[in-house]
Amino acid sequence: MTIYIKGMGNISPQRTWGSDDLLSSPLSYAGDKLSCVEPDYASFIDAKQIRRMSRVIKMGIASAAMAMKEASVPMPDGIITATGYGCLEDTGVFLSKMVGNREEALNPTPFIQSTHNTIGSQIALLLQCQAYNQTYTHNAFSFENALLDAMLQLSEAPRRSLLAGGIDEITGQSHEIQSRFGIFRKQSNNSLQLFSERSGTFHGEGSAFFVLSGTPGENDIASVNALTSVYKPSYAELTEAVRNFLSQAGVTLTDVDLVLSGKSGDALSDGHINRVCGDLFTTTPVGAFKHLCGEYPVASAFGCWLAARMLKAQRVPEIVTPQYEGQQLKNILLINQYFGTHYSLILLKAC
């Protein structure tokens, strides 16, 4: 099932909205986390409606609006949201007050907004969209689940336009807790140098939404032709999964013009993915993206946005890989991994 990307909106730690520039002067961060470059939300949401919204909800709404604007689709036929952790800020506020106030006199608003479906349902409420509305929250398969759902729906009704996106936020508490697992690299002064060391990664966040349809059109950005997810594979299983995936999609290893790798900078997590890139794609350039957005459950949504933009522009920014030298860019294989347990493959084609 091929689905076509009609519009995209991406709020990320890079300047990924508001201009046509594609990462020509990427932003570098010091420390162990990369936070989003955010727009002025007042231009997306009116004051009466914005007052209860946490950052993750506002990022979701604004990036969804950007995608719909680019696609010229004012009302989607369905909204599919992916989030690994959901609305962490509100969850943390309610939990903290519950503990602090000993279960008394608790404000309902953070509880209401703590549920994972708040982002998708707020988009529906603002648009008055009564169509299909779904929220996936399966760690680093969340975005892949959302794309698959879009494919299923669009194979039933190809003319529909669906809004699908992935979003996760960093909060003070979530960063503090996740840091204690020792997964983030300390004492870095340049996030763009992520791959120059071998231990730990950077905490990231972002919101990328896509307008998708089952019918091709003149202004398509790119198409998503196949996707799959693989949980805790051995190296042999992952290699086989990549081979099967490409052959089912009717693409040979050499047809892939660029591999976009979801390596995270941590040698332990990246072991399989680096080996796959080295063993299978001996002559294919391999690019990376997590030095731009950091690591988070739906980082593959950033990767998908980047792949689609590169296919449309027929250009690979130097920060993604300096290896790429100007051939025609037809097929990009996005191979993502998340802490060495969740792997996904997404094949995108130029339109």
Partner: protein, 85 residues
């Protein structure tokens, strides 16, 4: 009463995050819900928490909300009548 209503307006703006309003924008008799300030059922619950936190008044039945929270003045009257000694 005047002072109580002034405090209430500030507390309401803070609790409901009505950043676009100043206390003087809210009339004493102005309806708070729907046609007035446009508050909704979630705000009514927040106001119940506000009364509990700031005035130690507990409203057990949310159905009483619309009557008590009609305007800043009705809330002030309710507080005056029900404030614990």
């Amino acid at each position: 009463m005047e002072q109580l209503m002034g405090n209430l307006k500030r507390q309401i703006i803070e609790a409901l995050n009505l950043k676009h309003l100043k206390p003087e924008d809210i009339g004493d008799d102005q309806p708070l819900f729907v046609e007035g300030l446009g508050l909704d059922s979630i705000d009514a619950l927040e106001l119940i928490v506000l009364l509990q936190q700031h005035y130690s008044i507990k409203i057990e039945n949310p159905q009483e909300g619309p009557k008590i929270f009609r305007s800043v003045k009705t809330i002030a009257e309710y507080i005056t009548a029900h404030k614990p000694a």
